[in-house]
Structure formats: structure tokens, C-alpha cells
Symmetry: C2
Subunit: 347 residues, 2 copies
């Protein structure tokens, strides 16, 4: 059917084959470079600065939590907890999504409330249950007391107001755009290495389309069409069909995107999450209530597609999903700039 | 006087010049390799395993705190907080000492209660206010559920019981022995680069001996004689002389080594801390009560040597101490082994 679409639709609708080849294929290869917005080009110095900020606990009010605390770059980009723990042992309301390949999401957060990585980065630093800084101004004021940051912001962004909250977010986003896991077994399979996937994974690949998973988990990040404009999210209602899982995993307590828009149509709407490295990012769903991938596959088939999978089908689909674990690049640790002769954290 | 000692003492006491050149000089160069105990030789695979464990938050009861949370390798080896914050927002009683160059301390912890890095590493994982794991067995049981650790412990340590708590500590200690900051300005000065130190730092160097700082802060780590056997700590009573600082900075509430030995003679005895990178590890003292290095120098001169320094003397000594900031080596981030299809952190 994809082949048919590709060959027929251009004739009927007059759109280009290039666009359609992105939208119509259920299985795509992950690009090795993430596109950057025009006002925030990715440069090595900016990435280095962003990496420092990403790991710097001083971006939290009491110096105990960094971006990396909940989105661990050394692991799978999450904390593998149901919900994250922020400053003062406060708990977040939703499970931390992985930072790996987040550059390929068209919108950020579970509810898509941030259009870009830049917008996303501004949130947790100021969230009371996450990093707890009182204001953008407080973040900037603290960073201005760290000479190594002042120098770098000036070199990277220039201008009178180089150390601004917007530029903090830009630097972090630039670093995050380098967090890409290419060459998964599925990618190698799609590029022609027919020994990359096991027989079970290949059966799972067929099931992904047959069962209907790929109607949402499509595109290079398996999180929706890959050619959506930045900020135009790809959402689905979850759960779509009632089941025992609603109560078992408390799936309906959180209204999802409705909390952002207040629109009735947005109740229980969620951004479709990536399937890349999904086997490594348990527990699952917005509330992290489902501890294993097997069970998550069962819940999704029932709740979204009203299908009950056999154990063999679950096993095959999980084998395919295992094939979406990519190669994590080696990264040098940043050196966090110092405050010689004193500290910014006095309590 | 050092020169005299070096040339005369060998004749009188018949010991080698090599040993004396270590013990008699107040200012020494930092070795670039740390010695390892006979039962825990440093190997690349062990260091890599230890690095993973050091950064792995799963070594804490709820997966939120790693060794690195309070002893940040990307920074100065500490958290720059008065006292650290462990699991469930619990506060430790003492300020986190730096992990950098800890390999050159003859005894570990503020009160010297651990003879080696291996012994030290076993403490915080089980401490309720730090990482909060309930028992050694619980740590081992959790790590055995992580396939990548099982494989590595077997490869590194071999034998039937390769994934043991002792070996967890051995691996972490092996990684810590690589955390060395050579080539500080003082080291370069001692090696003959007479432009390495400013005039102020050179005056500070002279003051260090004249005021008496080097009677304790000696050896390659400026934390006591460099040739003490492992586990034989170098302690001093702090404060030794009463002053306004006792109350101002609450210096006497904690009985120090007495808490370990219960001996009356050990009241307020503390292991002499390193001065390497001291300008980067504020706040100061066992309770982290003094926020700046300037003030810490004043407090030490008064409390230990009963001397009141002029502002110019403080400034010169701080200039010398700045010269003990070393070169921090580039380190590749570890990849923390996964638990595919599930998580070990379900609450």
C-alpha cells in the first residue's frame, strides 16, 4: 500500500514524491545529523557550552539537580523511574522522556506544550518540582557569577546581552541536537543488511504494520510523520478504547494536552512518543505506570487498536523494538566552570 | 633548611636520600600515577567498570543519587554545598571532600575511618542520608539484575563470586585512582618553571612555611607526609586555639575522630585535608560553614597557629593556593549498562 501511495498520490494531489516518501513509509532510517533552527545554528563551541549547562547542578536552586539527573546521557536519556525526583525530593507528575533523539520530535513534552528544544529547555529549570529556580533572572544572575560561563556566552552568542535565559536554552538545545543514536539493527536492515534483524524481529516488523502500530509510530523517530513543521505536534488520544488497563495503570487521571489548551477535544491527547531505544526506557507511558515493554505493548494494542495480542505476537513485536536500540556515541565529559575562592551554594 | 636536612641526614641516619626528599620538603610535586594496593591492581577494564558504577544512580535506593552527585568529577570533585543532599532530601553531617587526588590521602573520610579508597567506597552507598541502600546484599542483588555488570565483573575479577560488594568497592577505587590533577602552577614552579607563579603566589609560598601552614599541609597532596602507610592517617586537632570563629562557624559541635574511636584524645581531631584545588572546593571545613577561601585561611591561621594574618598576607597565601589548581584530564563518559525491557526502579 505504501508503494501504491507513493506512485499514485503525486498524480492526484500534485505534491512531490520527496515529501511523500517521508510521510508514507512506516519504517525510516534515523538521520545522523539533526536539523537546527535558523536562529540557533549548531556550532562546536555552542555544543560544548550546552553540554556544561546540561550537567551543571548549579542550574537548580540548591545545586543538587541537573538536566542530566533525570535525562541521563550516560544511560538511556531517562532516569528509569515512574516519575522523576527534583529538588527537595519533590516528585514530577509525568515520567521523564528520553533526551536521545528528542531533536527529531516535532514538539516537546508529553503534552507538546513546547514547540522546540529551545522552548523545552526553559521549563524544568524553573519548575518547582524539578530544578526549582525562582525566575529566569535568578538563573542568569547566578550564571553571571561564574566567570567561565560569562566568557563562553560572549564568545558563542556575542552582543551586549549574551548571557540571557534565551541563550541558556539555545546552548542546551544545541547540545541536545547532538544526542542521536544511529545504526540500530532496524536502520541497518532498512539500509540493506538483511542479517541485521532476527527472524522474530522481522515477524515483529510485519506485525507493527498489520496490528496498526505504525499508523502513529512512523517517521524517522517512530513518533509520527517526520516532515511536520517544528511545533506542529503529532498527538493521539490515549487510551482510545476502554479496557481493564485504564484502572490497573491509572491511565485516565491525567488529562494530557487538555491541561495546556483547555479544549475538550484535547482530553487525554498525548504526543506520540518515540520508539527508538524504547526497550531501554522503562517504565512506560506518561505516568510511568507500566514496568515492562511486554506489558506496554499489550496495553497499547488493546487501548489504541482494541486488539488482544498473543504472547508470541508480543514477543515478536518486542524483538523488533529491541532492534530500535541505536549506537550511543562516545562523549567527553564537560568541565564545569568554577567559582574560585567561593561557592554560589551557601545553604 | 630542607637542603641541609637532605644533605646531612643521610649521613647521620643512614636512610636513603630518596625517602628523605619526600618527607623533608614542604612543597612537593604531584605524581601522575597513584599507587594501587597489591590486591587491587589498576587495569583499564576495572577503571571502566568503576567509572560506570561511580556515575550509576541505581547504586542508590531510589535511583536518584550516584557517587558523582556529591563528588562531581566534571567539576572540582565536590558539590560545593555546605553538606550534601542524599536520597529523600536527607542532609549529611559533613561537607563532601573532593574525590580528585583522594588516591594520595593515607586515610579517607574527614575522620579517617576508612583506611583506603576501597573501604571508603563501601560507606556512602549504605548510608541512610547518602545513597540509602539497605545492605551490601541488596546492592549486589540489584547489580546482578543488570546483564552488562554481570559480564564485566566476571571479566574483571573472575571466580565464582565476581560480583561482590568488595569488588564493587575495588572497581570504584580503581577509577578514583585515575582522578589526578597534575601540572598545577606550583608543580610547574617546583619542576623549574620560575614563571609559573606570580610574585604574590611566591610570597604566599614563603608565608606558608613562615606562618606554619606546611607543618601539616605537606607531602605531594599537601595533606600530610606523603610516605605514611595506607590507613595511617595524619590528624590535627581543629580548632587548636579558641577564637571567635569557634562560635561563628560552629567549629566544635562535631567531635570528629572521637566519634569513631571514642578516645578522649581524639576529640576534635580531623584528617588534614588536601590543599590541591582547594580554591575550587568551597565551602570549607568539615561542616562547610566557611564560604570563601580568604576566610578559611584567616580561620586556620587563628585556630591552628594562633596568628592573625593581615589582608595582604591572606591575599598572598590565597594566590599560592590558587597555584595548586591542577590540570583536570579529559574523561570519556561511561555508558551505563541497561536492563532491556524493564527497570529496577519501580517506585
Amino acid at each position: 500500500m505504501n508503494v501504491l501511495l507513493k506512485s499514485v498520490l503525486p498524480i492526484f494531489f500534485g505534491v512531490t514524491l520527496t515529501v511523500l516518501s517521508v510521510t508514507a513509509s512506516a519504517f525510516e532510517v534515523l538521520p545522523e545529523v539533526a536539523p537546527a533552527p535558523a536562529d540557533n545554528p549548531t556550532t562546536p563551541a555552542k555544543v560544548e557550552l550546552g553540554k556544561q549547562l546540561y550537567f551543571d547542578q548549579r542550574l537548580s536552586v540548591n545545586g543538587t539537580v541537573s538536566c542530566n539527573s533525570c535525562h541521563s546521557v550516560m544511560a538511556n536519556g531517562t532516569d528509569n523511574r515512574p516519575v522523576s525526583v527534583g529538588v527537595f525530593d519533590k516528585r514530577g507528575g509525568r515520567s521523564a522522556p528520553t533526551v536521545w533523539n528528542a531533536a527529531f520530535l516535532s514538539t516537546q513534552f508529553w503534552d507538546g506544550r513546547a514547540a522546540s528544544l529551545e522552548d523545552q529547555a526553559k521549563g524544568p529549570i524553573l519548575a518547582g518540582v524539578e530544578m526549582g529556580m525562582p525566575s529566569e533572572a535568578a538563573v542568569v544572575a547566578r550564571l553571571k557569577k561564574i566567570p567561565g560561563y560569562v566568557t563562553q556566552f560572549k564568545a558563542v552568542f556575542g552582543g551586549e546581552d549574551s548571557l540571557s535565559y534565551d541563550n541558556v536554552a539555545r546552548a542546551i538545545a544545541a547540545f541536545e541536537r547532538t544526542l542521536i543514536t544511529p545504526n540500530s539493527a532496524v536502520d541497518r536492515h532498512l539500509k540493506g543488511d538483511k542479517s541485521a534483524l532476527s527472524a522474530a524481529a522481522k515477524r515483529g516488523m510485519t506485525l507493527m504494520e498489520k496490528v496498526g502500530c505504525t499508523s502513529c509510530h512512523t517517521g524517522p523517530n517512530y513518533s509520527g510523520p517526520g516532515n511536520l513543521p517544528v511545533g506542529q505536534g503529532f498527538f493521539q488520544r490515549f487510551p482510545s478504547f476502554p479496557s481493564k488497563y485504564d484502572k490497573q495503570y491509572d491511565l485516565k487521571a491525567d488529562l494530557g494536552r487538555h491541561e495546556v489548551t483547555q479544549a475538550a477535544a484535547d482530553k487525554h491527547m498525548w504526543r506520540v512518543p518515540t520508539l527508538r531505544n524504547v526497550a531501554l526506557t522503562a517504565p512506560y507511558f506518561h505516568n510511568g505506570s507500566v514496568p515492562t515493554l511486554d506489558e506496554a505493548v499489550r496495553v497499547m494494542a488493546k487501548s489504541q487498536l482494541n486488539k488482544e495480542l498473543t504472547n508470541a505476537e508480543v514477543s515478536d513485536i518486542v524483538a523488533f523494538l529491541d532492534g530500535l536500540n541505536g549506537e550511543f556515541p562516545k562523549i567527553t565529559m564537560p568541565r564545569l566552570p568554577e567559582t574560585p575562592n567561593g561557592t554560589l551554594l551557601e545553604e
